[in-house]
């Protein structure tokens, strides 16, 4: 009897676990959810988390105040949950009118499913809206030559940070080339300081190293070939060289001991840098703000240094190239009502990146993707850093989008998986290329 119960209870149990896989179907028949707004009201979903959340909400509130007839109802979601939620909601026809996103491969999957509105002609007739924004930010918004999203918020290049205190103590100079980097590794290790901080468990953090190694060695064409779906694009000699370089750095002890146990979400990697336990860190420009908040006088006392990733000897890549997030992206749900779409478009032209919002982004250490924002930057407390980010973004010959955002979710997952194994040294560069070639174009 007892066992009969158990075996049935486990069947129930498995049913439940299977239901997890079928959760899409279940949530599809769920409640109408926050996506459904009443007519005359558009809905807008975006990410929670301060200080960005308040700025986004502030833009919506300001818009609603000016347009009481056609307002926007905002709902916030936590980052990882949002990625799943938005996909489920769109698939079920329950998505919001305005969809916040990252552009690139994720946007393409929405476009392929006819879920988002083509904004090409709208931008054509509203050229002033388009011309206000960084041209380089439009890259990830364009799928098959058509614009499906409006770039918004800030530009976030990946920056090589360094700790001036540690450099002074060891008597070292910031690296000017890959050779310098490799030469600095034993120097810092001998002084008992980790050369580079890295939150390896998060995987995309490791990816930033490959993005720069590929670009500096072979130029942006190497990854572009992958993006364009050329067969065997990962077997390019430049790609193999980049992969080998990074593995050499791991073998030489370039990254902090136990880096594979560190997660970026908890900012432990940044803490290593500002507590003098690591000398350098390759990370997004957004970490500046959190290091300023958490690091005591590390940032305000002028101990934080920054630079673009140095060139590789004999490499073809332009040292002005950068990678990162060229912006954040707002799309319009194709299944929204005409009335809702009109509100959304009005929001795009009159509500997004208005002066007050631009100023708020600058105050949080971000560079808004608005042409001429550099004049505003000069008066900020963080003028030096913001000026650097503005220059990096606006003068970059190529501003590549992060690989995991640019690729389809399917290829991105395989990529992150293989990157983790590459940094574990459990696969060779050749094996990496082989497994990645298998998912090209998927």
């Amino acid at each position: 009897m007892e066992f009969g119960q158990l075996s049935l209870s486990r069947r129930n149990f498995l049913g439940l676990s299977a239901a997890t896989a079928g959760a899409l179907a279940l949530s599809a028949c769920g409640s109408s959810g926050p996506g459904q707004a009443k007519s005359g009201e558009a809905s807008y979903w975006f990410l929670s988390g301060q200080p960005q959340e308040d700025i986004r909400q502030g833009a919506v509130d300001a818009f609603n105040k000016k347009n009481p007839d056609g307002t926007i109802k905002a709902t916030t979601f936590q980052n990882d949950a949002y990625k799943t939620k938005i996909k489920t909601a769109l698939g079920a026809g329950q998505g919001p009118t305005i969809i916040w996103g990252w552009g690139g491969g994720g946007l393409k999957s929405w476009v392929d499913a006819n879920q988002v509105e083509d904004l090409t002609s709208w931008f054509g007739s509203n050229a002033d809206v388009k011309n206000r924004l960084f041209p380089s930010s439009f890259g990830p918004a364009i799928i098959d030559g058509k614009i499906y999203a409006m770039p918004a918020e800030t530009v976030q290049p990946i920056v090589l940070y360094y700790n001036k205190r540690v450099f002074d103590k060891v008597g070292a100079k910031p690296p000017q080339s890959w050779g310098d980097i490799m030469a600095l590794v034993p120097k810092f290790n001998a002084a008992g300081v980790a050369p580079f901080s890295l939150a390896g468990q998060s995987r995309w953090t490791n990816m930033m190293w490959l993005e720069f190694a590929f670009d500096r060695v072979g130029g942006p064409e190497v990854f572009q070939a992958v993006f364009d779906g050329e067969p065997n694009a990962w077997s390019n000699p430049a790609s193999i060289q980049g992969l080998t370089m990074v593995q050499d750095l791991v073998k030489a002890g370039g990254f902090v001991k136990g880096f594979a146990s560190i997660v970026a979400d908890q900012n432990a990697d940044q803490a290593l840098l500002y507590t003098d336990k690591a000398a350098m860190m390759l990370h997004g420009s957004w970490t500046y703000a959190s290091m300023k908040t958490d690091g005591g006088d590390f940032v305000t006392g002028g101990h934080l240094g920054w630079m673009n990733f140095p060139p590789v000897e004999g490499g073809k890549g332009d040292p002005s190239d950068t990678v990162g997030n060229p912006g954040q992206y707002l799309s319009i749900n194709a299944s929204a009502s005409t009335e809702q779409k009109d509100i959304a478009k009005k929001f795009f032209s009159e509500g997004v990146l208005q002066d007050a919002e631009v100023k708020q982004w600058i105050d949080t250490g971000g560079v808004p993707i608005v042409n001429g924002a550099d004049k505003e930057l000069a008066s900020s407390d963080d003028a030096e850093f913001l000026g650097f980010v503005y220059d990096t973004a606006s003068k970059a010959k190529v501003f590549a989008q992060s690989w995991d955002q640019a690729l389809s979710p399917t290829a991105a997952e395989t990529l992150l998986d293989n990157i983790a194994k590459l940094f574990q040294l459990s696969i060779t560069p050749q094996q990496f290329a082989d497994s990645m070639n298998a998912v090209i174009g998927k």
Binding site: S7, N12, D112, A260
Partner: protein, 308 residues
């Protein structure tokens, strides 16, 4: 492991026919449980089976694609690896949890006041959510800012979640830490049900405490061991939340069990077809394991009190 749907009424669906009459009129009482089971157990299961023969990214149109998904899953070296990881977690956590739970359970079965107090303390891990436990352990095990670094104990300053072997060990340990209290509770109850007369008789025959434990307590716990083992095995098969938060299957794929493989394929790589195929495999493996454990228990009609 903690989710146990009350299944008792459903069992009886097979009973009325086989057992002697008189049960018939109460057959309708089964209905509510049956409806819930069909709606939330059987129907999604069939849906997943159906999905496994399609290609779907979770967003667009579902395309029937025959055996494509199955071929992709069965030829993927990730599947045997995930099964092996699942098996290792299952076996190791069973090996660790069972002796610990029995010992603690037997200890707590005593009626002394201090033991009652300890029982409450032991029970605490079960009150915490798996995600909270995972995040806490992650912080404690951080190689630079964790317990080892904080207390300056080099032994604790390992690359706990970054080394393949250590990471698996950590997963098994944390899973066990969370669930030993639950199983101890089961054993505590079972030990208290053993007739006192047996111990009195054994004591008269001159058996010491250790002898009593091995000759009376352990044999008497046979069915409890099977019950608790089934729960452990079933639990580790579908174990997801703690591993997901703790290691996300990493480093590399060192702790990627079947359940994680299913989630990652379906919800991160957007391959719903292959993910459904993995889910079906999970169901089949689960049923086989449950069946084997049932067999192990024997027919259940022999007396446990023989010679008592």
């Amino acid at each position: 492991m903690t989710v146990i749907v009350p299944p008792a009424p459903a069992v009886q669906t097979t009973r009325p026919a086989s057992s002697a009459g008189g049960h018939g009129p109460v057959g309708w009482m089964v209905l509510p449980a049956l409806v819930v089971f069909v709606a939330f157990g059987a129907v999604p299961l069939l849906g997943v089976l159906g999905l496994s023969f399609t290609t779907w990214d979770g967003l667009g149109v579902i395309h029937p694609s025959g055996l494509t998904s199955w071929r992709a899953v069965l030829t993927d070296p990730g599947l045997p690896h995930a099964m092996w990881v699942t098996f290792k977690i299952m076996a190791l956590s069973w090996l660790f949890q069972t002796p610990m739970s029995i010992l603690i359970g037997v200890f707590l079965a005593g009626h002394q006041r201090y033991r009652e107090f300890l029982a409450i303390l032991y029970f605490i891990p079960l009150l915490l959510s798996a995600a909270a436990i995972a995040i806490t352990y992650k912080a404690l095990l951080d190689p630079n800012f964790g317990l080892g670094a904080g207390l300056g104990i080099p032994l604790l300053q390992q690359d706990w979640l970054g080394d393949s072997t250590l990471a698996l060990g950590v997963v098994v340990f944390v899973v066990s830490w969370q669930f030993i209290p639950f199983h101890s509770l089961i054993y505590q109850g079972a030990v208290r049900q053993i007739p006192r007369s047996m111990y009195e008789a054994a004591a008269l025959d001159g058996a010491g405490r250790v002898r009593q434990f091995f000759s009376i307590t352990l044999p008497q716990l046979k069915y409890t061991i099977i019950t608790s083992s089934t729960l452990m095995v079933v639990g580790s098969l579908t174990f997801f939340d703690l591993i997901f938060v703790l290691t996300e299957g990493g480093p590399g794929d060192a702790t990627r069990s079947l359940a994680l493989e299913m989630y990652k394929t379906g919800f991160q790589a957007n391959l719903m077809g292959p993910a459904s195929a993995i889910a079906v495999i999970l169901v089949v493996v689960g049923l086989i394991v449950a069946l084997l454990l049932r067999r192990l228990g024997g027919r259940g009609d022999e007396s446990q009190l023989e010679g008592a």
